[in-house]
Every structure is written in structure tokens, then in C-alpha cells.
Symmetry: C2
Subunit: 253 residues, 2 copies
């Protein structure tokens, strides 16, 4: 896996001359995550980059539970000092786009990899509320990541309930974002989900990711999906990520 992904990053390396992007690029799952801290690997020339839609911002489809939790965490993203100055709070909202490389100035090699029509799986439907509505927050100090997820009607598995694959997708997304925030580029190596209770379509759940331990390049995470008040456990998961060094990636090793 690392070899193949290394080739991708060989391609990305050729973008070195363009300016740093202003947004976070996340590459979820079985894959390399672009870390939150490292914003300068990929780049988009400003004249080719109209402001894309940030899917992590509220839209009219968001129900009261999603809105309330969004506001709870978002209010802690910026705090006021005693002197009345605003400064970064303990939480940070993670922006979310449907393409990482929409306007990337592709080289010949890269253009083979990046398909112009490609869209991030969790953001491939534009109809608000129909599929995955979610927002992620990261707490630098506590090294936590939470996702608030409202499941739309296009995610059906059993009648009236969310498909287990859609739940797996959200778990992978939240833990992957968390792992890349802590450790830079990672690949998902193992995803082990215990399904406890189905999630009704239309409902909102809380996805909490925490780092259990770090052993060399391995990062072990736990992730729990619960009702928003924490009273019902839907899934319990462990996820293993392997940290990949930039040189490893860039050399295609």
C-alpha cells in the first residue's frame, strides 16, 4: 500500500512550486491523510481556486441535535481573553470539501491519478441532508476528535436504518482525521468494528475518537458511536493507523 501511495505523493511533490493552500486537506481511509498541521504540501494557484463549499458548515437540513452540538463545540473554537481579545479556543472545526485537488495543476503523471470527476465519498451528494451531514472538531490539548453525524435517507441498509458500511465510513473518517492531526500522513491498516445497536435514518449520533497508544509508527485508536447524550452505544471500534514519513512517501517506498 505504501508503495502505491508513495507514487501518488511523488506526483504531488511535483506541485512544489505553487503556494500553500489555506484549507485543510484530508484524505480519509486506507490511505494517506493530509495532516492538519502540514498545510503546504498541496497547493492551488489562487487564480484557479474559487472558494469551494465547506460542507462542515450548517445548512437548512441540519436538525436541532446536530445544530446544538455544532454550536456547543464551535463556541469553543474562539474564546475571549479578559482583555476582550479573541484568541483560539481549545477546539478547532475541521473544514470539509468534496475534492482535495479540484484545481491542482496536474503534471502528466499526476493527471493519470487525479480524475477530474472524482469526489470524496462522504461528500459526493450535494443535496443537503440526503446523505452524510457531519462536522468534525479537534481538541489539540486533550488530543480528542469528535464527529457529529446526521444520517440522511440515502444511507439506508436495513429498512429505516443506516447501512453498516456508512457507519464504517464515518468511523474511518473521524479516526483518520484524528490520526493525521496527531502524526502527519498515515495509512489505515486495520478497522475492527463491533456493531451493538442500529442507527435509525435521520438521527444524529456522536462519534468520539481517542488515541490509546503509540508504538513506533503505529497509532492505536478507539472510537465509539453513541446517541448524542451518550446513553446508547451504537458501535465500538478499534482502528490501527501506520504513520508514513514524508520521505518514505515521496520516494515511493
Amino acid at each position: 500500500m505504501a508503495r502505491s501511495l508513495g507514487r501518488i505523493f511523488n506526483g504531488l511533490q511535483r506541485l512544489g512550486s505553487v503556494s500553500p493552500i489555506q484549507t485543510q486537506l484530508r484524505y480519509p481511509s486506507t490511505s494517506v491523510y493530509q495532516p492538519v498541521r502540514r498545510r503546504s504540501v498541496l497547493a492551488v494557484p489562487s487564480f484557479l481556486s474559487p472558494k469551494p463549499r465547506d460542507f462542515s458548515l450548517p445548512n437548512p437540513s441540519w436538525g436541532s441535535e446536530l445544530m446544538q452540538l455544532y454550536e456547543r463545540y464551535n463556541s469553543q473554537c474562539e474564546v475571549e481573553t479578559e482583555e476582550g481579545e479573541k484568541q483560539e479556543g481549545p477546539w478547532k472545526r475541521v473544514p470539509s470539501y468534496n475534492r482535495a485537488l479540484k484545481y491542482a495543476p496536474c503534471g502528466v503523471y499526476l493527471s493519470k491519478i487525479i480524475q477530474s470527476k472524482a469526489r470524496l465519498f462522504t461528500r459526493n451528494i450535494n443535496d443537503p441532508g440526503a446523505a452524510f451531514e457531519y462536522v468534525l472538531f479537534i481538541n489539540r490539548e486533550e488530543q480528542k476528535c469528535v464527529g457529529i453525524f446526521q444520517a440522511g435517507h440515502l444511507l439506508e441498509g436495513p429498512p429505516g436504518h443506516v447501512h453498516g458500511g456508512a457507519i464504517a465510513t464515518m468511523i474511518d473518517t473521524v479516526t483518520g482525521t484524528h490520526a493525521s492531526f496527531l502524526s502527519g500522513p498515515v495509512v489505515t491498516a486495520n478497522l475492527n468494528i463491533n456493531y451493538r445497536r442500529p442507527i435509525p435514518l435521520g438521527s444524529t449520533v456522536l462519534i468520539e475518537s481517542s488515541l490509546d497508544k503509540k508504538e513506533g509508527r503505529k497509532l492505536f485508536f478507539s472510537c465509539k458511536v453513541t446517541s448524542t447524550d451518550g446513553s446508547k452505544v451504537h458501535t465500538e471500534t478499534t482502528v490501527l493507523f501506520v504513520s508514513i514519513s514524508a520521505s518514505h512517501l515521496l520516494l515511493g517506498g
Copy 2:
């Protein structure tokens, strides 16, 4: 989980007076799978049931690998005897629809559960070739299930590659169909995926499910995702399903 799903089937039970449906209804993932053998639980009055699109049939987006493998298995679904008569072959294609209960005559309770706009997660995009293109075949004698899956551009995770959640979704779909075929209604209890090698967008892979053992109500499956020639292993997975009796479901236990 069983309790909640039991409520669904309490609702479905109220449909008992209508005639058996002619198609297979599959309910993938963290959920109750409707078994292939038991076709009479859900029912649709014929006058309300125009023939729905079967997504498992070829369309112009299917590439040569998907078509070749489809034809290989499909040609073994019906064989000719020495006397020139046609009879069922060792393999059976599994039809696939985007809704299980599109025209179900819902009672009051059921109508709360079954949303009219709900669509099966893996079939929620109508644009051929854009997302999940797949067909499943089951071999009754060998107790095997295979899925042939062509990954569309809307399933992106890492640039140019399939999202791990989309892969998990397909694994759940293939093994869940297999489990329900062997054992009637089941719930997914555990999904444990080892990701070995990423899958490029646009490529076709083979998903093979096999039953490892059965212990009481537990069914243990292995599932491998490989390149179509079997030379590259993308993921190795174990899946645990728990068989649920109809009475257990219907009583909401």
C-alpha cells in the same frame, strides 16, 4: 439491536395478507438480512409494483473486466442437460434494487419507519458507473458468494483511490448477502478489516466470501478483496453475523 429491528419486523408482519414478492430483498449491514430462501415475508401488491431497475444487470458503464467476470459466472447460472433442456446451474445471480419496500402498503407504525425517500446506500446514485457498480453471485453447492465490483469516481478517499469506507461497505454487502442466504435473517456483529493495498478508482476487484464455521447462532466468514486475477490482495476481512429467528424478530426480542 435485535429489539429495535424486532419492531421493524413487527411492522412488516402486518403485511401478511399480501402476496409473496418475486424478487430477493436484501437488507445489508448491522442489520437484518432478508434471506434469499424466504421470499414471502414482505409483499407488494402487483398493481402497485412496476418492475424496478435491477442494478445487477450490465449497463454501458461496465468495463471489460466487470463484463468478462459477469459473463463467466452468469453463463453458469443456467446450464443445458444432455437432452437439451435448460436447468438451474451451480451459480445464481443476485438481483439488486435501490429500495426494498418501495411500494409496501405500510401500516401506521411501519410508515414511521420506512421513509419514502430512503434508498439503499450502495444503490443511491443512479448515474451508471459513478459509484458502486457490482453484481453478486451465489453458489449453493459450494456455499460461496462472489462480488464483482467496479469502483466509480464518486467513491474517492485518498486521491485517485477508493475510500476505505466504500470498501467496507462492499465487504459488508457481499458477506451479508452470503450469510442471509445460508442462515436466514442475521445481524452483523463484527467487521474486522485488514487493509493491505489501496484500490485505484475505476478498477474492478473480486470480493470472495466463504463461511469459516458456524457455532450455534454465530456465523464466521472470511472475505478477501483481490484484483480480478487474484494476484493482488487489497483487503482481508473476518465478519461475524448472528442469526436471528423470525419469532425473536417478530416479538421484538
